[in-house]
Symmetry: C2
Subunit: 236 residues, 2 copies
Amino acid sequence: MHTKNIHAHLDEIKDCFQTAVSVDCVIFGFDNTALKVLLIESDLKEYKGSWSLLGNIMRPDEDLDEAAYRVLRERTGLEDVYMEQIQTFGALKRHPAGRVITVAYYSLVNIEHVALKKHNNELHWHTVKDIQHMAFDHKQILDTCYERLKRQLIEQPIGFNLLPGKFTIRDLQNLYEAILDVKLDRRNFRKKFLSLNVLEDLNEAQEAVSHRPAKLYKFNFEKHELQKKRFLGIGF
Amino acid sequence: MHTKNIHAHLDEIKDCFQTAVSVDCVIFGFDNTALKVLLIESDLKEYKGSWSLLGNIMRPDEDLDEAAYRVLRERTGLEDVYMEQIQTFGALKRHPAGRVITVAYYSLVNIEHVALKKHNNELHWHTVKDIQHMAFDHKQILDTCYERLKRQLIEQPIGFNLLPGKFTIRDLQNLYEAILDVKLDRRNFRKKFLSLNVLEDLNEAQEAVSHRPAKLYKFNFEKHELQKKRFLGIGF
DNA sequence: TCAAAAGTGTTTGTAATACACCCATGA
DNA sequence: TCATGGGTGTATTACAAACACTTTTGA
């Protein structure tokens, strides 16, 4: 067997360095009623009037994940938010400017923490369910990320990332119902979450509501014994 | 807001076309005892003696997914096998030849259907559990794909892809036990799978075994009512 | 005192788990 | 006839699902 050195290898593949890699961030927020996604007006003539995800080309000198965090940081000013790589989209004609494959991430942010700056006035929060068309293949990317979010929401306690630091159990239930598009029983939902040992009672209550005020909780990551009861059984 | 045409956009990003995109295939097989993965001896001097996944650079004129199928086809002669994109790895120094990000796929094949050709004599099936080191970041990729496989195996009936067309329920259980590294109750396992309505009884039996011969089954995709009982509840 | 949402407990159904005996075959 | 693994049924347990009334607050 022959071996090749790096340079022989580089030479062999140099024709393949014609492809750009981009990252696209599906930034989800929740406004207490519906799941939102942060979009920008497309700056490509071909897609004028369409909305697109927040993305950018990955720089040759930065990690892939770092590129995604950079996009998020530049657009929202946020750091240390929940973010997950979801899928890479590499269809041939997906970008009119040439061969660009894109790695899609989604992140969950507290919508109140996103201060849209003046120079970001092309940015808007859109209701996910109302979105029909987007630029590029971004609708497909959004759909994929939304499906993954729904699945994650069922399997891991990540919904907190979309809520303010203090929230009521009803807030949490509203979030689940809105994102999963289901109706849940109040008593069972409450029972379930309280038994999970992830909610810390702040001993505070809602104020200025014209009904019995609800208790406020915060999420306590430490308390969560991850995957404590992982199914031994087969779940299908 | 100003708009840019494609060419302005291309110009802006042209410095970023310095990154190659590769695909790496984690090809899993099962030899009735242990989970195997098909590896090749690295042809890079830097990794001489190490094993690596089967991969290749994506061509600028082919779909990303097609590149993965091409690698699989070229190496195993197989088509139409189970294959899934898992994750994209894009750390800065992951490839010594330059900036190469790689999209990892795993596929499940019937190990008996893979005829390793003469010119593929650097290819070998390795027992997944015994693998300690690999070239590049391929161990990390393998680990990621293996974790995903385990999860998928619990949630979807995909194990069949690793088995011959005719198999016994015990074969299937061996597969689950080996991959998930658990012991399962024979009676419950059988009950579970028979109730799933995905096994078609071939009315054939094992031959030449020195004990009561087991029935042979095949998987019947049509019968499987996908996600019929999808949890409404929350699974963590 | 009324409206509106918060808070609580019990019952029921379903599915996973644990477990022991008989059956068919080749040696 | 024996050794080996195949095939079956039931009791128990755990958890999700269904369901109704009392409590607290502001108006």
